[in-house]
Amino acid sequence: MKPWRQPGFWLPLLLVLVGGGVALVLRKDTLREMIFTLLMYVALASSLNILMGYTGYVNFGHIVFFGLGGYTGFYLISQHGWHLIPAALAGGLASALLAALLGLAVLRLRGAYFALATIGINEAARAFVNNFGPFGGPTGLFVNFAVYREYGGAPQALWLTYTLMVLTTLIVVGLSYWIKNSRFGLGLLAIREDEDAAMVMGVRAPTAKTLAYVVSAFFPGIIGTLFFFKNGNVEPGDAFRLHMSIEVLVMIMLGGNGTILGPILGAAVYERLRGYLLTSPIFKSLHLAFAGLALLLIVLFIPAGFIGWLRRRFPFLRRWLE
């Protein structure tokens, strides 16, 4: 079965490519900033979906990989003068390494215990970085303006960051399709349905779960480096923000847990809605209250999310909405 013949494969990729390409063609700065944030959440949600959607392990600490990878990459750029691309890869690898170390231990826990442990890891990491001298402690790190010279000025550096973000998002989305349809992904889905039964049937659950955790942790590291490079500074409060983890969870639940199109649509809808709520004079301080309300309503009425609901209601769409 050729993946590019499947609409479920190229539809999400096309969506990301068109959405990301518009700003590259029009070269508008405001549009680029808007789509950068959008793509960041799409990529974060899709990468979390690889763990949460496929194996059913609810991870409240996804943002720890974003923060840690971002710090590693930013440290290499600002203190050692690395180029953005190797620094981003190093950030991703640092996150993946942390996930590999934690994975085998933490993923033995199930249900509420796993969720609590992920919150604990995030809080421990934030408190640690707050005290860690090389990462600048509570004030964080700044980038010297001279580093932009390597890229031909700050505007070029921002466009390069944006292009890399589009590429990263494409890779995350493509990879999540590939994993879902591979033998490995089928093992993960079996773990979600019944872990003990899956182990009896020959799925190596601990290895498979850890691998899923590592894959889902690699991308936030890259995204974190890109995001903080664009911002020009990094602080513990921004890097390990627990409610950002929760917002990414809401995005996945909104679009459809375990689907490929779901996190993309969920992230886009939630992010645009939040943009509206933050700027509208009536709702400006209520956007988090809205996130909580949305999660509550989704869990109560459409637990499968928007795409999951569509797939159940209109079975002929299943080929299109993977």
Binding site: A117, I119, E123, F128
Partner: protein, 107 residues
């Protein structure tokens, strides 16, 4: 078994919320308090529950006492800002080594 489980859960949730509100009211009498203060108590209450054992009332008491003592004693050896690092590292370690907590979880 004709136990109205939704009602029982709602009642236990209500009692828990009531006690938390009571604790909050008492805390405001001698600590500075803003709308954002809740999150630090929230994460500490996770640590306490797990430390003593989830579902064990005596465990919660013991966990609370241990955490309170730790917050007072750690600054003797380390700078104050390291307290949350120690607390949350301990939290993760307990979850990994003994998920049932010090006194054992009651199910």
């Amino acid at each position: 078994m004709s136990i109205p489980s939704a009602q029982v859960l709602a009642l236990s949730f209500g009692i828990g919320t009531m006690l938390a509100a009571l604790a909050g009211g008492l805390i405001t009498t001698f600590f500075p308090f803003t709308i954002l203060s809740g999150s630090s108590y929230q994460s500490k209450s996770f640590v306490i529950c797990v430390l003593g054992g989830l579902g064990n009332p005596l465990g919660a008491l013991l966990g609370g006492l241990i955490l309170g003592a730790m917050e007072g004693l750690i600054p003797i050896a380390l700078p104050v800002s390291w307290v949350p690092v120690v607390e949350f590292t301990l939290f993760v370690l307990i979850l990994l080594i003994r998920p049932s907590g010090l006194l054992g979880a009651q199910t």
